[in-house]
Symmetry: C2
Subunit: 340 residues, 2 copies
Amino acid sequence: MDSMTVTATTQRADEDRRIEVGLRALLDRLDATTRHVCGYHLGYWDADGVPTDGGGKGLRGRLALLSAAAAGAGDELGLPAALACELLHNFSLLHDDVMDGDRRRRHRPTAWAQFGVPAALLAGDALSALASEVLAEAPSPTAPWAVRCAAATTRRLIAGQVADLAFESRDEVSLDECVRMAEDKTGALMACAASIGAVLADAPSELALGLTDFGAHLGLAFQLVDDLLGIWGAPERTGKPVLSDLRSRKRSLPVVAAMESGTPAGARLRTLYLGSDAMGEAQAAAAAALVEEAGGRSWTEQRAEEELDLALATLAALDMPPAVAEELAELARGLRGRDH
Amino acid sequence: MDSMTVTATTQRADEDRRIEVGLRALLDRLDATTRHVCGYHLGYWDADGVPTDGGGKGLRGRLALLSAAAAGAGDELGLPAALACELLHNFSLLHDDVMDGDRRRRHRPTAWAQFGVPAALLAGDALSALASEVLAEAPSPTAPWAVRCAAATTRRLIAGQVADLAFESRDEVSLDECVRMAEDKTGALMACAASIGAVLADAPSELALGLTDFGAHLGLAFQLVDDLLGIWGAPERTGKPVLSDLRSRKRSLPVVAAMESGTPAGARLRTLYLGSDAMGEAQAAAAAALVEEAGGRSWTEQRAEEELDLALATLAALDMPPAVAEELAELARGLRGRDH
């Protein structure tokens, strides 16, 4: 690593640490049982309470810190913004895992698989409440606006999950519907994270709205890359089995793009997806080949690049300290490396 | 009815109507599916979307309206307060029904029994988000304080539900623990409802805190009466089968008071409660007789009276318009009539 990369890595670790300290302090407001489940989910300790080596990537939290910095504010506003976004993200993961019946996340049993559905449900409820609470406590006259952003984001997370669940029982799902769902499930929270620090800092509306746009494009790019990883990602990096999205017949963006391609490979993929039981490895490998042959992989890669370009172009037009703009751009470009 | 009762009834209906109009407008912010589930739960329409004759009692909402009036404010602050409390109450009902496996509420299938667990879970999440949102939108410099009250209340609702679930798998539960649980599950939200309008109206802290105390005593009295109704209430009024809490071996306050009485009847009740399958009618009737014989019924009735007296004494010491104080007292005394 060159010295600039070392500096960036150190800075990232420091941001993650400040966010973790803040999250831990918020968990201390909860009853002991709910606190334990939340801390397990966040990766702070194992099911027996033994400390583990730590939390997730904190991408949304870092975005929120930078969003405050873009408007000239420091941790006094950036940190509440960052904590709220990480809390909302983990609230939705906890509840989605229950609804989707997913038993594993980050190489461990999910909270409901470990502690039961009621415990995971209450843990999610608690993180959602803490998100409003930490924003309402922020020392800013615009704190109510930040609470409103968070609530509106939650409504979109819900709408996205509703669509995701509905798609499972439908024969046909259009690519437009899939993109909309990704915009709600992933884009909305990224848009919130990229702007909520600026909202708390009472930034001019051009900056706050511009950052929202930046985050929305970034979020969609993130989901497109995530869907590529769900098929072709290395299990040791994704924490999921190889080809996992195909095994569970998930209609992710590359799959639906392939199905809608009008190619013979797309038609064969549709037929393969008609069953409802999990696919075996050979069948899933055949499905992956069909997605690729039908152009689903290249469509997704190209769209991810486009969204990333849009995010960067939006960012370049905004008035903020150059160092902050560069960090935001760096964070955005970092997505590109995820699928290698 | 005399003319004063008619006036009070008309006024109550008018309050309920204003709250319902506000809730319906908030539901319109949700995606169509989640809106449908929420409106079903609130009693606005049936599972097919056909309008029904309406919502619940709105006790918490009315308390919140009066709480704003106590501080000299009208609907501009009372209504956001009322909507938030009704939203939080129904958020917790939706999630508790999932966790408790309860299939019926208000003479109809519960939301999860009707639409599935994911739909009910998301509906609860949505109501919780709308509660923060409507408070953050209130035209008041103290809106962030109201959001903080709501979030802290949600944390206590969660702690109460955690305790309730934990009690089910424990052999021994003390009466103190049961009272604490009722204070969290019922008292906290009543305390919030009784004070949050005053918080939004930037009332002097003596008034806001006094109203919190009033609501906490009222809430505990409410739960004590509710537990009496869960055993001896008329099914056509409670919407539950006769003796329902005993059939499911629920350790409600009268039951635990009886078990802790040190009487032979209390000891026989413990033995009867050792099994885990639902009780038949004859067995439940025998349990009810034992609760009564062991003094569990009279303890609960007396404690409910004491809490009500404490609520009224607290209220009497507060500085507010006499007409509002009288309405709050009337609302509190109304609890007494619930078990007749």
